[in-house]
Symmetry: C2
Subunit: 188 residues, 2 copies
DNA sequence: TTTTTCTTTTGACCTATATCAAAAACTACT
DNA sequence: AGTAGTTTTTGATATAGGTCAAAAGAAAAA
């Protein structure tokens, strides 16, 4: 039943039966229709969602326009990172681009797991290391690169899901206008 | 003697006497002259340096030019993150912009600390969370912003040290040319 | 199916920043 | 102090990508 979740953890640590059971008990199924909000920037983010099926987008408002920060899909956790970690409000909201099924974990439950299973701390450290690497690569790919190079990098990173994301959202993710992205895409 | 190092850890966890002692035993003083390499991209990064005094720059080569990735100064750890975490080569080298004194920690010693002190795992998770936030902010500040806005953000982030960094290195950090940065700076 | 709304493409024009080149201002040796 | 090397500034020009506007295409609603 919770196999994809276990597999995710086992990329980084070995799950003891006790930890498996705790995870299973503390995680709740929650589904969202396309366009629904998982998290609103108005509030502190107290939940993390593991995506079983679907696609979500983390975004914020700048001058009244929605800017995509990043996208998450099957097999990944999503939350508003700074809000979730530091228990304060942040600028990000999260909504879905497709009907999405998740397992939801409350921050209080996660705290319990950290306190009682040191391997969870290790899991967090290692998995953050992975994401960390992605962020640095992204920063590199945003400097001294043409719109085309940015788009190519985006397609490489979001290889499996880039075609499921509307053009305007991709453009704001890349920091270019959708007109420019449309032209870049045309010449191929 | 090791006070600044202890203080750094105690932003995130409480250091037991036992852990203090282990840290103290495993850390080695190392000093570098201005311009010396702390790490060369040719090699796997197996050491992390805590900066007691001085200023270093993490950079890589693109088309024969040196691009600054970021800077670190007093009270911070520096290494080549992906190389250090995943024990493989990466593009980054590290050198000093000033004479620099450090405490050096070998990855094997860090591994020992992770294995024997679960609070070290917690420290790593929490401190990575902080850096994580900075990276996300930086990504945001690089999209849809003018050269001037990028420079303003840089000065805010590197408030205490920005004046110690040569203009050309700041420009490559921001992803703009040094000519543009020079002009931005002139009109104030 | 038809209408309405949302998304993407195309076109014309403009501006911020890149590029190339050279002068000026620093820094660091001898 | 004087020379050589490096870094920063200034100037002239070019261009990628922004902005604004409108048409075309797709998706959702009636």
């Amino acid at each position: 039943m919770h196999t994809p979740l276990y597999q995710h953890f086992e990329q980084y640590i070995r799950l003891s039966p006790a930890l498996r059971e705790e995870l299973e008990n503390r995680v709740t199924v929650q589904s969202f229709k396309k366009g629904e909000l998982l998290h609103d920037a108005d509030k502190v983010c107290t939940r993390s969602y593991f995506i079983r099926k679907g696609l979500v987008r983390v975004f914020f408002l700048k001058d009244g326009r929605e800017i995509s920060e990043y996208f998450s899909s099957e097999g990944e956790w999503v939350n508003s990172p700074k809000s979730f970690i530091q228990r304060q409000k942040d600028i990000y909201s999260i909504d879905t681009l497709e009907d999405t099924d998740t397992w939801r974990l409350e921050i209080s439950d996660l705290g319990y797991l950290f306190d009682h299973f040191p391997e969870m701390e290790r899991y967090a450290r290692l998995s953050m290391g992975t994401v960390f690497g992605h962020l640095m690569e992204r920063i590199t790919s945003m400097r001294f690169t043409s719109a085309k190079e940015k788009y190519d990098h985006f397609r490489a990173v979001y290889h499996d899901i880039y075609h499921r994301i509307p053009l305007g959202m991709v453009a704001s993710y890349l920091g270019i206008t959708q007109e420019t992205l449309s032209r870049v895409r045309a010449e191929k």
